[in-house]
Symmetry: C2
Subunit: 263 residues, 2 copies
DNA sequence: CGAGGTCTTGAAGACGATCAACAAACGTGG
DNA sequence: CCACGTTTGTTGATCGTCTTCAAGACCTCG
């Protein structure tokens, strides 16, 4: 327990700078447009030129660590990442799961000092956006600024649901809720198929997401499978009965803000 | 259990509009200046003229309900309020506790649709800030916009710690952490005395904050008292041993962002 | 003074943690 | 491509934390 496998700092970023390749679209744009389609061409251009530096992280590497004062924010282009906190005795709480199109530490721009870490779960490709550029956006792009603000608020809304889960829901309800949420979010970026999606976590990681042990996670997963609601094999989650799963979880997607509004 | 006492909508706001009185300062300004002292006189003026309408809410009344589409955001001037979610079977999770100077639903400006409710715990005095005014601020006041953004991000940082508590900390650690946090926050607005502050909650409410039952809350409070760390009598919390309390809780105030930085 | 809410205490039981051991999958180097 | 070591998953048993139910004391406010 005192041996803490998490928190492995990545090797120097400068060594692994990549070039944008043609097929690598900016996944933030569809995410924002889903919430407000009135993005102008000029605004899209700003988003596309926000970053001049791409990098990769290997599985388990930290992108940012608690206590850091980042000068960039990290936009996830490919892969899965998590925000997490480690307590003194090694207990870990995962605070968020991030997928393509998520700004994993946009909040470090106003907050300055990281109060938690962000680690790559799978291999990740990311774009680094200098805080100076974000500052410029807040100076000259009020609409974009509101949308960036929005994006951090959606993170917070998800966080609220996680707190409801950890505080009130049973482990079974909570895992069901997590599956509903991930499926809904992955659909936005086209990363979920027909009732199925890839979930490249260990059971221990998923458990640290809801606040239960790896052993219990395993048992609850079997319960959910036994009820014919979801199965998870070979990193692939298959939702067998969406209605039943959502009902068990008490899932209401409102908090994901998937509606198109002027913002 | 199916009888849900929470969620009582307030009577029409229009009936209870008040006037600013001279001694009622804008408590948001010190809160923001604590994080960035470079607020210009012009910016302070904007903050002071943000709202033309004051209102009050009685204890237990809801300021905003889940599903609402507010056209104002609510700045708390006096009293205590909470954000909360009620599940179908009556379980309640409190998501945040708000005190003077807090913008209880600033996030409803970018988010539009409320995914939870905000209720007055004690009698509350609030200022209503039209979303149109906030929109104007985002158009013409980039620095203020960043500070408003910041304020929602501090809420999110607190939320993260609550999730860590609900997910990983024991009930005792978690309540200790809550006391440390509230004391630190109340100090900023001058609402805490020497190792003591008023906490006008019921034990049930405090329990719904950390995700434990009222009965267990009571027992854990006795444990904390037995260890000589904190006592709570007549709505007043007295911290008997700050170091011990903070140590038990694993409290690190970084996440409250109490440092003065250019933002 | 009475009534409803809040606090307190006891007892029983559920949910999830922990410990331990083994099986399966993965990946790395030979 | 196989062998091996390490990580991940699975299962059983025991234990502790917290829940629930119930009843009584206390307190506050009309």
């Amino acid at each position: 327990m005192l041996d803490v496998p998490w928190t492995r700092r990545a090797s120097p970023v400068a060594l692994r700078i990549l070039q944008w390749s043609a097929e690598l679209r900016q996944p933030l744009i569809p995410k924002l447009e889903r919430r407000d389609h009135t993005l102008s061409a000029a605004e899209k251009a700003v988003l596309e030129q926000m970053s001049s530096r791409l990098t990769t992280f290997g599985p388990g590497e930290d992108m940012v660590c608690e206590g850091d004062r980042p000068t960039n924010s990290t936009l996830l282009l490919e892969g899965w990442a998590s925000r997490y906190v480690t307590l003194a005795d090694g207990r870990r709480q995962i605070l968020a799961l991030h997928i393509s199109g998520d700004f994993v530490d946009l909040h470090s721009f106003p907050l300055k000092l990281m109060d938690h870490s962000v680690g790559a779960i799978t291999a990740c490709k990311v774009a680094l956006v200098p805080h100076a550029v974000l500052e410029e956006i807040t100076q000259s792009q009020p609409h974009l600024t509101r949308l960036l603000w929005l994006s951090t608020l959606i993170d917070a809304a998800i966080l609220r649901q996680w707190l409801v889960g950890a505080g009130q829901r049973s482990a079974e309800e909570n895992l069901a809720h997590r599956f509903c949420e991930l499926y809904s979010r992955l659909q936005v970026t086209g990363l979920a198929g027909e009732g199925r999606f890839e979930l490249p976590l260990t059971q221990e990681e998923l458990g640290d997401t809801v606040g239960i042990s790896a052993v219990h996670t395993n048992r609850v997963l079997q319960q959910l499978k036994g009820r014919g609601l979801v199965t998870w094999r070979n990193r692939v989650v298959t939702i067998e009965n969406w209605t039943g799963l959502a009902e068990l979880a008490g899932f209401d997607p409102t908090y994901l803000n998937l509606t198109d509004e002027p913002r």
